[in-house]
């Protein structure tokens, strides 16, 4: 066995162990920490599979942003101080049965693969030069399966609406509370002054390079959101009231531009979400830039939580 395969086997064993302990550990906080570690290990696994785009997304979203959301949820459930909802035995058994069904389905698919694995990869690589993009993942996301990508961004907005709808009526349109995060501290302020210039450049770079190499709107947007949250949590900048027009404008800018270009495809090219010949790359880069901003704002507001204070005029 070569060193690489020893590493791979050890990595898989570690992922399984961390995954099991995420479920078995009793305290919610410890489970979230395990989940973040799980996400980071999973991103190493994706790198080993040469899926760097997926690895970046897993590290940014699976490890970072989801971890942050879950930590916020743990802190909130602590501050509300209610015991967890009682789950009866039938519901537990039903959950167990459904999970077992999913595992069985996956196991059957893995253990009995078809003779020839169906793939569209050669077709994608053949048609990719027409779009002017160099990264096949960006090609699939914005050219071949653009509708999926568009709907994905709309789902993000729906998730944000879900969080906002938890607000009490008197706080609607107001500012997120952020009380789940640590209070401001000189060290945190130091970091919040030093890191954002680096992080913002890096986020923009990640979005820009996504057309040619691994990277893209989601990864870049997550880095920008993290920088924004750092500044807000450190107390250098207030979280915006959710009623602000600029905030809502930024939130919908990406999906609206994407949709507008998609609709224009009917006129200038021959189908919805088709790009006119020769203009594909500039259009895609414009959509990616707008989406990066929208994703950054949406993720930042998701992590900031529902509004808790009425807006002060």
């Amino acid at each position: 066995m070569s060193i690489a395969s020893v590493f791979d086997v050890a990595l898989v064993a570690l992922i399984l162990a961390i995954g099991a302990s995420t479920i078995l550990v009793r305290k919610a906080f410890a489970a979230v920490v395990m989940f973040v570690v799980y996400g980071l290990l999973l991103s190493i696994a994706w790198v080993r599979l040469h899926a760097v785009d997926v690895a970046l997304t897993e590290a940014a979203i699976g490890g970072g942003m989801t971890g942050l959301l879950l930590l916020g949820a743990v802190a909130r459930s602590r501050s509300v101080n209610v015991g967890g909802p009682w789950i009866g035995r039938p519901a537990r058994l039903a959950t167990c049965a459904l999970c077992a069904l999913v595992v069985a389905g996956l196991a059957i698919a893995m253990l009995h693969p078809p003779e020839v694995i169906p793939t569209l990869a050669p077709t994608v690589m053949e048609s990719l030069p027409q779009s002017g993009l160099g990264n096949p993942v960006a090609g699939v996301l914005f050219v071949f399966r653009a509708l999926d990508t568009l709907l994905e961004k709309v789902v993000l907005l729906l998730a944000l609406l879900g969080v906002w709808s938890l607000a009490p009526d008197r706080a609607w349109g107001g500012m997120p509370g952020l009380h789940v995060y640590a209070r401001s501290d000189p060290t945190l302020i130091f970091l919040a002054q030093l890191l954002p210039p680096v992080g913002i450049v890096f986020g923009i770079y990640m979005c820009w390079v996504g057309a040619k190499d691994p990277g893209g709107a989601f990864q870049g947007g997550t880095v920008l959101a993290a920088m924004w949250l750092l500044v807000i949590v450190a107390g250098l900048q207030k979280a915006p009231a959710i009623g602000r027009l600029w905030l809502r404008g930024l939130l919908v800018a990406g999906p609206v531009l994407f949709l507008a270009i998609g609709l224009a495809g009917w006129v200038f090219a021959d189908a919805f979400l088709a790009y006119p010949a020769g203009y594909a790359k500039p259009l895609i880069v414009a959509v990616e830039a707008a989406l990066t901003l929208s994703i950054a704002v949406a993720l930042g507001m998701l992590a900031a939580g529902p509004p808790e204070r009425a807006q002060q005029q």
């Binding site: 640590a182 501290d185 060290t187 945190l188 130091f190 970091l191 030093l194 890191l195 680096v198």
Partner: protein
Amino acid sequence: MSLVMDILTICAVSAGALFFLAGTVGLLRFPDTLTRLHALTKVDNLGLGLIVLGLLPQTSSLLAVKLVIVWLLVQLSGAVVTQLIAGAVRQHGADG
């Protein structure tokens, strides 16, 4: 020349790995939060630093700059997080 570089790489990366091992042992064996943090910062600082140093002769100049930036960023975040955890421990005790 390349032999000298390879020896440098092997020595530095091995020393870095040794720091990672020692830091992990410290994390598991040291008695309280502050001493465990002390062990962890050595890993960030020297362990990763030595590994980056060892990898520098093996890469192109652009990649070398990226590696050094990664080291500096990990140092910054490690130092800040250590300070924050230590401050929280001092204020609320190890369980808070």
